[in-house]
């Protein structure tokens, strides 16, 4: 499936990365992980929900892209029809991760050699003729660093939501123009009633941690579900 290797100047010198969008490039996914610092950009186009990592059971914030497995309603052929593409999509096929062992070592950039974006003859080069990182690679590294900071900051976000019981299971009952219906399960959203009951000191602590704004962003983003339904209606029209 995936074969991650730490990026290496010698080993990966000839590799290229296909840019753009499309199902063939691995973009046909129902949702993609996001993080609180990205919520402002995400909520303009996508509903922000929470779901459980199947491997750990831990909650993850995700941007909803489709209404069934393998469906991305923002993909129109080779075009991604939204003003903002989530960072976890933009970063493909790269990954930033702790280089095993101690926590103080800097994170390293890896890439998934089995990802459909990785190529030897097509796309942007990773290294230039002298073996120096290309402008393309540098821009991806900058993105990964931003992502890393965002994920670190977001680490305490879920714990804080759970501590204040601010997550609640949501079952989305969807009705489409063609009369068909669908129930979306396995997702959670901000518990608005609980949110409105929060006392001043808790609100202040959330605000100081930088979590209050993302919480309200996530609440507001749910109005984007309507857009997904419209996109699904147009798909079948």
């Amino acid at each position: 499936m995936s074969q991650y290797q730490i990026l290496n100047r010698e080993k990966h010198r000839r590799l290229r990365v296909r840019t753009g969008s499309g199902a063939a490039l691995g973009d046909a996914v129902m949702y993609v992980m996001t993080y609180p610092m990205e919520f402002r950009d995400i909520q303009g186009s996508y509903p922000i929900l929470f779901t459980k990592d199947p491997n750990t059971g831990g909650f993850l914030p995700v941007a909803l892209l489709g209404l069934e497995a393998g469906q991305n309603l923002f993909l129109q052929g080779e075009r991604w029809d939204a003003t903002y593409v989530p960072a976890l999509v933009q970063r493909q096929p790269f990954l930033i991760a702790k280089s095993g062992g101690s926590d103080d070592r800097p994170p390293v950039v890896s890439l998934d050699l089995d990802h459909p974006r990785v190529s030897e003859d097509e796309g942007e080069a990773l290294f230039d003729g002298e073996g120096e990182p290309s402008q393309f690679l540098n821009s991806k590294i900058a993105l990964l660093e931003k992502l890393h900071r965002g994920l670190q900051h977001g680490g305490g976000f879920i714990d804080t939501l759970l501590q204040h019981q601010l997550l609640v299971q949501v079952v989305l009952d969807l009705a489409f123009a063609d009369g068909s219906k669908k129930t979306l399960q396995g997702f959670y959203c901000i518990a608005e009633e609980r949110l409105h009951e929060l006392k001043g000191d808790v609100l202040e602590s959330l605000n100081r941690a930088g979590y209050l704004q993302p919480i309200f962003m996530a609440v507001a983003s749910l109005s984007r579900v309507r857009d997904l339904i419209e996109r699904r209606n147009r798909l079948r029209a």
Partner: protein, 510 residues
């Protein structure tokens, strides 16, 4: 009075029910007096699904419980050699048959010519047993399930966790002292107990969790013990802790119960070890021969090395119970109330039920205590009778003829009358809703179906109009069950894999 699973679980259930969030109301005070000199018998390593609700009710997280009690998931019991002794097997899963509320699948299953076993045909749960698969996933919230489950646990660690939870979270006071005297009040109640190092302790209600010695109910009040050995012959157990052959060996999804010539062997998989024991009738087999059968079993499932290293612990018991369980202001819970062999693991659930009833019905005044006591006695007499009947069912259906033990177990005089009556009726009608005695029956009618048809009992059903009407519905249920079984086999993780994840990540609360 008394610790162990009975004492601490009772204290936890009662204290949790009566805890108050603010200090404005005076809470009831729960004191647990435990002798520092009497070791507890770790009774019951298997629970029923009811334990999930009990743990939730006392405010324990399932993650903490699993981590600290070396617990694993139990989805039922797998029986071997009970019917003929020639390798026959069947399952009693915790999930009732599909569509059970509206459709009785048993007569439809009986009419099939080429059917899978009864349990396999009516519930997808047993499909998980062969692969040692879990009843839920890491994404399933705590105490929720995909298929119904209880636990296997380390009883010693369980009592210890409950003690910490009781004293740390639920405000239970723990007094380590020996009771030297029981002091009567003028009206005949217990006024107080005198201890060797904590003085005199007075109380309104005394809960006797002192084990088989039954110090308050039996010794002080003289409530007689009623032996039930005429129905259930087993009176001795040899219990052993057995290491796994390899650290990553699969953990079984259910208790394994393998019949022997004069009893049966239990085999319970915990994460770090197995609990294996032989429970038998001392009148039918010598201790040496029983030990030899136990070691032969251990050799077969865990290897020569494991069999060579185990030191079985011998436990003698008299199967039976007190005539009454609540007398004046004293109520017995656990082995002080009674004990029947561990088949179907009813020890812990009886503690849960007794503690639950006391917690809910705690008499606010002495006047109504006698009313509660009478109701309690009626209910628990019924429970003991049902346990005896249901356990007896396992023996009377056996066709084993290889020892006087099995013949004696089928002797007409040893079979409770109610059970004989039911069996004669069940020759013509499968047990279903009409066979339920009361809403709080310990064993649901579905459990009787699993034992009867697992053991090859033949019901020749009377074809009725509604049965013919439900034919199509039944076929649909059988089909859906097979589909669900295949789906679960693909989706569920192994027990060990899930337990490792619980250790690492824990279950979410929602």
């Amino acid at each position: 009075m008394g610790g162990g699973s009975a004492g601490w679980l009772s204290a936890a259930v009662i204290a949790a029910e009566h805890r108050v969030e603010s200090q404005s109301l005076p809470p009831i005070e729960v004191l647990l007096v435990e002798s520092p000199d009497v070791p507890t018998i770790g009774v019951g390593e298997g629970t029923w699904p009811s334990m999930r609700e009990t743990l939730r009710r006392i405010g324990l997280s399932e993650t903490d419980f699993i981590r600290e009690c070396s617990a694993s998931f139990k989805q039922g019991t797998f029986f071997r050699n009970w019917q003929t002794g020639n390798g026959d097997t069947y399952c009693h899963p915790f999930t009732i048959p599909l569509g059970y509320a509206e459709t009785n699948l048993a007569p439809h299953w009986l009419a099939l010519t080429d059917a899978p076993s009864f349990a396999d045909a009516v519930t997808p749960q047993t499909a998980l047993f062969a692969g040692c698969l879990a009843p839920k996933q890491i994404t399933t919230p705590e105490y929720a399930f995909v298929v119904n489950y209880g636990y296997h646990l380390d009883a010693g660690k369980f009592a210890e966790l409950l003690r910490r939870h009781c004293t740390g979270q639920l405000g239970v006071k723990h007094i380590k002292a020996n009771v030297s005297r029981v002091n009567a009040a003028e009206n005949g109640d217990i006024r107080s107990v005198t201890t060797d190092r904590a003085g005199e302790i007075a109380g309104d209600l005394f809960i006797d969790c002192t084990g088989t010695s039954s110090l308050l109910l039996g010794e002080h009040f003289g409530i007689p013990f009623q032996s039930r050995q005429s129905h259930l012959l087993n009176d001795t157990a040899l219990a052993a802790q057995v290491p796994y052959a390899a650290a990553d060996q699969a953990i079984q999804s259910c208790t394994h119960s393998t019949a022997q010539t004069a009893g049966w062997i239990w085999d319970i998989g915990l994460p770090a070890r197995r609990g294996i024991g032989h429970v038998y009738s001392s009148a039918h087999i010598s201790e040496d021969a029983a030990t030899a059968q136990l070691l032969a079993y251990i050799r077969e499932v865990a290897g020569e090395k494991a069999a060579g290293s185990v030191v079985p612990r011998k436990i003698r018991f008299q199967p039976g119970h007190r005539r009454d369980f609540w007398h004046r202001n004293c109520v017995a819970i656990g082995m002080s109330a009674g004990f029947i062999e561990p088949l179907e693991a009813s020890a812990l659930v009886m503690i849960e039920l007794a503690a639950g009833m006391i917690a809910e019905q705690l008499p606010p005044t002495r006047d109504v205590m006698d009313v509660v006591a009478r109701r309690f006695n009626r209910k628990f007499s019924r429970h003991w009778n049902q346990i005896i009947e249901f356990l007896k069912l396992h023996y009377v259906l056996s066709a084993r003829n290889d020892s006087p033990y099995w013949q004696d177990n089928r002797a007409a005089a040893s079979i409770p009358e109610e059970l004989s009556e039911r069996l004669s009726l069940w020759s013509y009608r499968s047990p279903w809703h009409q066979d339920a005695g009361a809403v709080d029956d310990l064993f649901p009618t579905a459990s009787y179906q699993y034992i009867l048809y697992g053991m090859g009992f033949k019901t020749v059903p009377q074809q009725t109009f509604s049965m013919r009407q439900q034919q199509r519905q039944a076929s649909e249920l059988f089909r859906r069950n097979a589909e669900r079984a295949a789906q679960l086999q693909r989706a569920m993780p192994g027990n060990r894999e899930l337990l490792d994840k619980v250790r690492e990540f824990g279950f979410q609360k929602l």
